[in-house]
């Protein structure tokens, strides 16, 4: 198990390193001069040149990469020239929106999907099952941002129950903050829940067809106990895979959803920073997001080992 973790960690680090090079390289070829963008179209060339020097944009590529990387290693994410503050501060601020949003959405979709999956699997072929599955099919087909627009239209503009967007900050209290994350989380969670409940259902059904389920039934255990005690944990493995993948989806989803609800999260930060050519912010945040996806997949791997003892001894 220790070797399993060590080996996985090595792969995680390697993947991250390669990803950082890709990100850095990609951003270097984004056209445009940040200094010019900052100073506006009527600025003099001298002023632009001075700013470029000040921003450290004139250093050689390799040096900039090394500086960036070595900074990251000690937790220094660089300096945002458009916001005039450390990128680390920006991230710390924004993550208090993005992370809760992603977690609420993930929790919401899991809390909806797993019971629905179990319920429909245990009532396979019934009208409940069929209609629930029909609903999930439609749920998968709905683009989450479109769903978000509808939600805003109905709950914020027409019923005025929740804010149409924006984020008041956690310091205004738990409820106002949660309230403003409610619609975005629902918009993100429901389509994901549709996928997840289908996966849960089919994984369960597949597991229920395994030989060891028959062994358990032959012991005299009733179908329900077999489902809960034998099938569920085995069915968890494909569900975990999807959960891991969904995290990346959710992150991507938050980027759009944060824009629909103008939430000051990491996704919006990237959008804004790219538009303003604040590459230090972009590269650091992108690396952070990629790292979190990789890290989540690492956790999923560990969870596999928890769910499946066969993997514990493998490399």
């Amino acid at each position: 198990m220790a070797y399993f973790i060590v080996r996985r960690m090595m792969i995680v680090l390697l993947t991250l390193w390669v990803a950082s090079i890709i990100i850095f390289a990609m951003l270097q070829i984004i056209p445009g001069d940040p200094a010019q963008l900052m100073l506006g179209i009527n600025a003099t060339d001298d002023a632009v040149a001075a700013l470029r020097e000040q921003l450290g944009l004139n250093a050689p590529l390799f040096e900039r990469y090394i500086n960036w990387m070595s900074g990251m290693l000690i937790g220094d994410f660089g300096y945002s020239y458009t916001y005039g503050t450390a990128v680390g501060n920006l991230i710390a601020e924004r993550i208090t929106v993005s992370l809760p949003l992603a977690l609420i959405a993930l929790a919401l979709s899991t809390l909806i999907a797993i019971p629905v999956g179990i319920f429909t699997a245990s009532r396979r072929g019934t009208a409940t099952d069929t209609s629930a599955m029909a609903i999930t099919q439609i749920g998968i087909a709905i683009p989450n941002f479109w769903f978000a627009i509808l939600l805003v239209y109905v709950f914020a503009i027409t019923l005025r129950l929740v804010p149409a967007g924006g984020f008041p900050g956690w310091e205004t209290g738990l409820w106002p903050a949660l309230k403003s994350l409610l619609l975005p989380a629902i918009a993100l969670a429901l389509p994901q829940a549709a996928i997840l409940s289908r996966v849960t259902r089919s994984a369960l059904l597949e597991t229920m067809a395994e030989d060891y389920i028959r062994t358990a039934r032959a012991k005299g255990l009733p179908a329900r106990r077999v489902l809960w005690h034998h099938a569920l944990r085995n069915a968890f493995i494909p569900v975990l895979t999807i959960l891991g993948l969904q995290f990346a989806f959710l992150l991507a989803g938050t980027i759009i959803i944060e824009n629909v609800f103008y939430l000051p999260g990491l996704g919006r930060l990237i959008f804004q920073s790219i538009q303003r050519l604040d590459l230090m912010v972009v590269q650091s945040v992108v690396v952070l997001l990629v790292a979190s996806v990789i890290f989540i997949n690492f956790l999923v791997d560990l969870a596999y080992a928890w769910a499946d003892p066969r993997l514990r001894r493998q490399g």
Binding site: I30, P31, G32, D33, P34, Q36, L37, M38, L39, G40, I41, N42, A43, T44, A47, A50, L51, Q54, Y81, T82, Y83, G84, T85, N89, L90, E93, R94, I149, V152, A156, I157, R160, L161, V162, P163, A164, G165, G166, F167, G169, W175, P176, K179, N259, V260, F261, Y262, L263, P264, G265, R268, L269, Q272, I274, Q275, R276, L277
Partner: protein, 492 residues
């Protein structure tokens, strides 16, 4: 069935009613762009001024809602007869937010800093006429110009010319310390900036306790935020399509003002076939400005015929110079030798006036045989390719700097217009102090660029102000980019 809405409404009132208190002392203002920093003397972005101008920072003079120069930190001033020496009498008792007092040395420091060799002031040209700045007393400053400058007082009213203290000048970007009626309370990056009242203000106290500027670039989100009451004012709503809806809603006041934004179809004057004045004139005839204003801006905007703001006293109405006449446009093209049509590109920056306007223009020009390929660009790419690289045929952009007709005299400006007569005119303008004379010169300048059809002048961007009907005192026009909230209050 009627019970449910009541319960829901009651619940909603309990849960959601931070705004239902009487005698409101707070205001949330929506803005499209978040400022990159808060130092107007170091940053060009209009968003900086939109937050801090007149609220946090003050200059020697200030520009009022109607565009007139008014006293600010300078109580009054005298100008020598030769127009070269300005003597400013400063306000007494003004204090910076950090408690340090304001005096003449701060003025000297600020102006010298702005015009220094290594200054990063984005509008350095504002100070180019200054030869020296001297403090002749604690409250007296004498500014000597190297040549007369008619716009000097106006220039000193710009956000870029506000007075800062030497102690805090370097940190103003994050922590602005000015002399204004509001000071920075909190900046939640990416979301909002909150100002609180400055109890030590030298002048009349502001009528609000807190003002929050919330940044909502997305037109749909901006509209939704206003409708949902999350923001109570959007001085420049980026969604012209929603204006009609707000006008019909008694909860809101809609004020359509004017901005300094001349929206033009910028033309690369050195690139064939657009180096041919007839081609440019043909385009001017082929374009139906009103259709563009209707289609892209939902009717909001004033047609213009030159690069000048219609609300400016020196404005000349030239929008009928090239009337909408596709036949004439075709004839002009034929005359220029392009009966077979023209193929060109239209590079569009992100704002919706450009993207939507571009679609309409492409459609209109296609009718006279000019076939445009639309190339959408991010601002970064636009700057690189169009503005710096001059690699473009046509583009649409709004020039939001006030009184910037002098860009037509600049060598190598992106639309590459070169006219010695025009340059001479601007040179003369720069040394003219007399207002009437200056107006005359401005009018001449407008006429020249219109005759040359340098660009196709489309419309002046409207300032689509929408705010809660109970709010008083917001600016209706924006002679400078500012959201001056010093006089804003709630009526009850």
């Amino acid at each position: 069935m009627t019970i449910r809405p009541i319960i829901l409404g009651g619940l909603a009132a309990i849960l959601f009613s931070s705004s239902a208190l009487a005698a409101r002392m707070d205001l949330t203002i929506g803005m499209v762009l978040e400022p990159p920093g808060l130092d107007p003397t170091a940053e060009a972005a209009a968003a900086v001024d939109e937050v801090v101008y007149a609220n946090v920072f003050e200059g020697l003079t200030r520009i009022g809602p109607e565009g007139a120069v008014k006293p600010a930190l300078a109580k009054n001033w005298t100008i020598s007869d030769d127009g070269l020496t300005y003597t400013f009498e400063l306000r007494e008792g003004a204090k910076f937010h950090d408690g340090t007092s304001f005096d003449a040395s701060d003025v000297v420091f600020s102006l010298d800093r702005a015009r220094a060799e290594d200054s990063t002031n984005a509008q350095k040209a504002l100070f180019s006429a200054i030869e020296k700045v001297e403090a002749t007393g604690d409250t007296t400053v004498v500014v000597t110009l190297s040549e007369p400058s008619g716009a000097f007082l106006y220039n000193m009213g710009w956000g870029d010319a506000v007075i800062v203290a030497p102690e805090s000048a370097d940190t103003n970007k994050e922590n602005p310390v000015g002399t204004g009626p509001f000071k920075l309370d909190n900046w939640q990056r990416g979301s909002a900036i909150t100002l609180t009242r400055n109890a030590d203000y030298w002048g009349d106290q502001a009528k609000l306790d807190t003002v929050t500027f919330r940044f909502i670039p997305d037109p749909a989100a901006a509209t939704a935020a206003l409708l949902a009451g999350d923001v109570q004012a959007f001085p420049n709503l980026p969604a012209p399509e929603a204006i009609a809806q707000f006008e019909a809603d008694p909860r809101f006041t809609v004020v359509i003002g004017s901005t300094e934004g001349e929206t033009i179809l910028s033309t690369n004057n050195k690139k064939p076939p657009f180096d041919d004045v007839n081609v440019r004139r043909a385009m001017a005839h082929a374009i139906d400005r009103q259709a563009i204003i209707d289609g892209a801006m939902f009717g909001l905007g004033t047609p213009i015929g030159t690069h000048f703001a219609p609300h400016n006293p020196a404005y000349v109405e030239l929008s009928e110079t090239y009337e909408f006449n596709p036949e004439k446009a075709k004839a002009l093209l034929a005359e220029a030798g392009f009966e077979g049509g023209i193929k060109a590109t239209l590079k569009l920056p992100p704002p919706s006036y450009a993207r939507r306007g571009g679609e309409i223009i492409a459609s209109q020009l296609r009718d006279v045989g000019i076939d445009l390929e639309i190339i959408p660009l991010e601002w970064g790419q636009w700057l690189e390719q169009v503005f710096k690289g001059k690699d473009f045929d046509l583009t649409i952009v709004s020039h939001t700097e006030p009184n910037d007709i002098d860009i037509y005299a600049r060598d190598d400006y992106y639309f590459q217009y070169e006219n010695p007569d025009f340059k001479a005119l601007i040179d003369k303008l720069n040394v003219t102090a007399d207002e009437e004379e200056r107006f005359a010169l401005y009018r001449q300048a407008q006429q020249i660029i219109t005759d040359d059809a340098v660009n196709v002048y489309l419309f002046q961007l409207a300032k689509n102000g929408v705010w809660d009907a109970k709010l008083n005192g917001l600016w209706e026009n924006s002679p400078v980019q500012a959201n001056d909230v010093t006089g804003v209050s709630w009526s009850e």
